[in-house]
Symmetry: C2
Subunit: 449 residues, 2 copies
């Protein structure tokens, strides 16, 4: 019986087989000069902007990457690798440089979020894990920020762990949604590992086990007099609210936290619930709402005056339900000093080491320019060197700092891009030098093939 956990010891094998077979061929041929790879996304509907998240976890992976004896032994047994190559892998480390858009920053399609500069074999082997780590983090952080952007100061909590795609997605979703403006998560392990605030209310099973709402509420209030949020929709929502009020009075709850609505006509029920709470003198008691919540529902309910104080956002957040994957790629853009591009189809890549220059106007993002790395262009340079020779070379911000930056960055987003219904595509302009480089590279490739 096996679970198949991924951990520090075996993470290097969480890769596509071809990363290892290709690199064995590089090894045979002595092709291990410096390569530059870009990780970027292509435009996707309903995501006019994206939030950079996942870098710290990527850097952790890169710093700790090595093949254990057990790994080498497994590779040997596949019969696909030579003794010489396996010997090389025994001492394999990532020794390259990484340039990245910092966590919490807004970015747009075609902009390299991570740029890896390393010996070809190293830069290739890390591809699969890099995309795996970054994509889900970006997806959830962006979805979270979309919720935050319409929440008008109401609180948001990640309730999605159970519906996340496996254990790691649950952890990454908690971290990414916190960066995206959420107050915290229901995920206890994310609380422990990342220091994210943890929240919780109660389940329908809790009411059902006690058989009656009063009994269940009373038992909970005895243990948690200052933090009880009563779930009121197990049988009849407004009856449930009345019972919650009775218990709050009976148990003399000074800081009655409030109630949670999880089903039914939330607009109507939240208004009636507010009225009942106010009439009973519990003006500070909050209304929490959960159950199929996403940014569209939050906006619609608040637009219609629903007196909701906080949201538990689950499934749609953690699987990024309307956009469950990005069209993202990790592409070779330079090898041994030569610019590289893939030509076929319309999925053009931009060659060479690059920089993203951001120009603001009146505090808002006006345009981004994609240029060559050493170009002199006015604007804030988004790509920063975060790893040098395989070691992190900057002080990484705390999760809280990243979160604060992300929330501030949202204010730099023009209205037409912030709109959750926006289908605009905002791309960086290309600098003249990059344009020249693209044309020259295409010409060179066409002469070769």
């Amino acid at each position: 019986m096996k679970f198949g956990f991924v951990n520090e010891e075996n993470m290097i094998l969480l890769t596509d087989l071809y990363e290892l077979t290709m690199t064995q061929v590089y090894f045979n041929k002595g092709e291990n000069k410096t390569a530059i790879f870009d990780f970027y996304t292509r435009p996707v509907k309903r995501r006019p902007y994206l939030i950079s998240v996942g870098l710290e976890q990527l850097l952790y992976y890169l710093e700790n990457l090595r093949f254990t004896e057990e790994d080498i032994d497994f590779l040997y047994r596949t019969g696909k690798f030579t003794d010489e190559f396996l010997d090389y892998l025994k001492n394999f480390r990532f020794t390259g440089n990484v340039y990245a858009i910092e966590e919490g920053e807004i970015f747009f399609p075609n902009e390299p979020v991570v740029q890896v500069e390393a010996p070809l074999i190293e830069a290739q082997i890390i591809e699969t894990f890099l995309i795996n780590t970054m994509q889900i983090s970006i997806l959830v952080a962006t979805k979270a920020m979309r919720c935050f952007s319409v929440a008008r100061g109401t609180g948001l909590v990640d309730f999605g762990l159970r519906r996340a795609h496996g254990t790691d997605a649950g952890m990454k979703a908690a971290r990414a949604s916190y960066i995206g403006g959420f107050l915290g998560t229901s995920n206890v392990l994310a609380g422990k590992e990342f220091g994210i605030p943890i929240f919780g209310t109660m389940a329908h099973s809790f009411i059902l086990a006690f058989g009656e709402e009063e009994k269940a509420f009373e038992a909970f209030a005895e243990q948690y007099p200052d933090s009880s949020i009563f779930l009121v929709d197990t049988f009849d929502t407004l009856e449930g609210v009345r019972k919650a009020i009775e218990v709050a009075k009976k148990k003399n709850l000074k800081n009655f936290r409030g109630v949670r609505l999880d089903s039914g006509d939330i607009l109507k029920l939240s208004k009636e619930t507010r009225k009942l709470l106010d009439e009973a003198g519990f003006k500070d008691a909050k209304i929490f709402v959960s159950g199929g919540i996403n940014e569209y529902k939050i906006k619609e309910l608040l637009d219609n005056g629903a007196p909701i104080d906080a949201w538990g956002v689950g499934t749609e957040l953690v699987v990024s339900a309307d956009v469950p994957y990005l069209d993202c790629a990790y592409k070779l853009v330079e090898y041994n000093g030569k610019p590289k591009m893939k030509l076929s189809t319309k999925k053009l890549t931009y060659p060479s080491k690059k920089q993203v220059f951001r120009v603001y106007k009146n505090g808002l993002i006006h345009k981004d320019v994609l240029g060559l790395y050493n170009e002199k262009i006015e604007g804030k340079k988004l790509l920063k060197k975060v790893m040098e020779n395989g070691k992190v070379c900057v002080e990484l911000p705390s999760l809280k700092e990243i979160r604060e930056k992300a929330i501030k960055n949202l204010d730099t987003l023009p209205k037409n891009l912030k709109d959750i219904y926006s289908e605009e595509v905002f791309l960086p302009e290309l600098s003249d030098k990059l344009k020249e480089k693209v044309e020259k590279t295409i010409k060179e490739i066409k002469e070769t093939i």
Copy 2:
């Protein structure tokens, strides 16, 4: 710097906070009689049938569940738990029984896939992890089986690791898609941990690094003369095929495996590729296709006579792109011998310990009957006791055996449900005794509230 891996040591904290706060209240009140919980799904569009997968991993979790000192220490520091409760958790084990539909079996909405019978606290604490483990496994296995059902014997390989939602989803997707009829995966760690066959070809970066296709193909063929699959679409697909043929001839490849097409008009390109390969005498060389593949594209291409031999299915498989989550739940259906139901909204649950009886007609699934556990109803009993007093009590089949069973089970599916465009909803009938129980329980609850 932290990755936040989930492993055997900390998995018990991968749970929603309320599971622990609720159970502390149960503990205070001595409410720890036997509870029965159902894990089941509700109808979802475009998934008329589902494949049960994830049980082995769930059982591993249940058998190995315990709080470490570090876990207890973290819970203590949250300030939410009493010393008495934390002492209780120190010796916490799952001691219950589990009934489940075996891995690889077809099931339908409203049928309990897993039924847990355990002391209330234990049955409650495991909720979040149970859903987290089961949902993604079912999603991917079902998506895989949908691909398999239209693949007409062509091969299918999981290429999705990079786009899976985190590390664990990549592992679960490899396992689930293998059960769903795939030949294997690109995921090396899944090969090591689960013994799944691993496959790979080459990337565009490999061609670009060498600069010319001939050089890249030759270098690969030297290392892998019997298993080279040349990627031909980096510059111009048909030119790439011609170069692959030249290299296969030059290097005298006896078992030239074939080429991979990853972009462009696949129907047209695959036909022209086949012609070129055949004319060159490589009738056994295969055509592999990847790039945005799903069951709909497989069916359309094969319907139109595309001579494709095998598919790399990635993103759409591992995130189950058209249905990225199930409407699934884990609900209390009995406590201390009393049937339990949630009444509000239309999401009715069926009370008490149950069994699913499957009736076949001419080898096809004719109907399922949802009855009480001990009812005498004709039909194959789908729920089997797999865990007794916290220990697995059956011999678990190997992954290969599960896969073979799953493929056989597909033949029992009526055509109207097998159709990938089907939007039918197939639900179990309720036995008369279960219907009576439902009515009686509703009446009793209404008298109480």
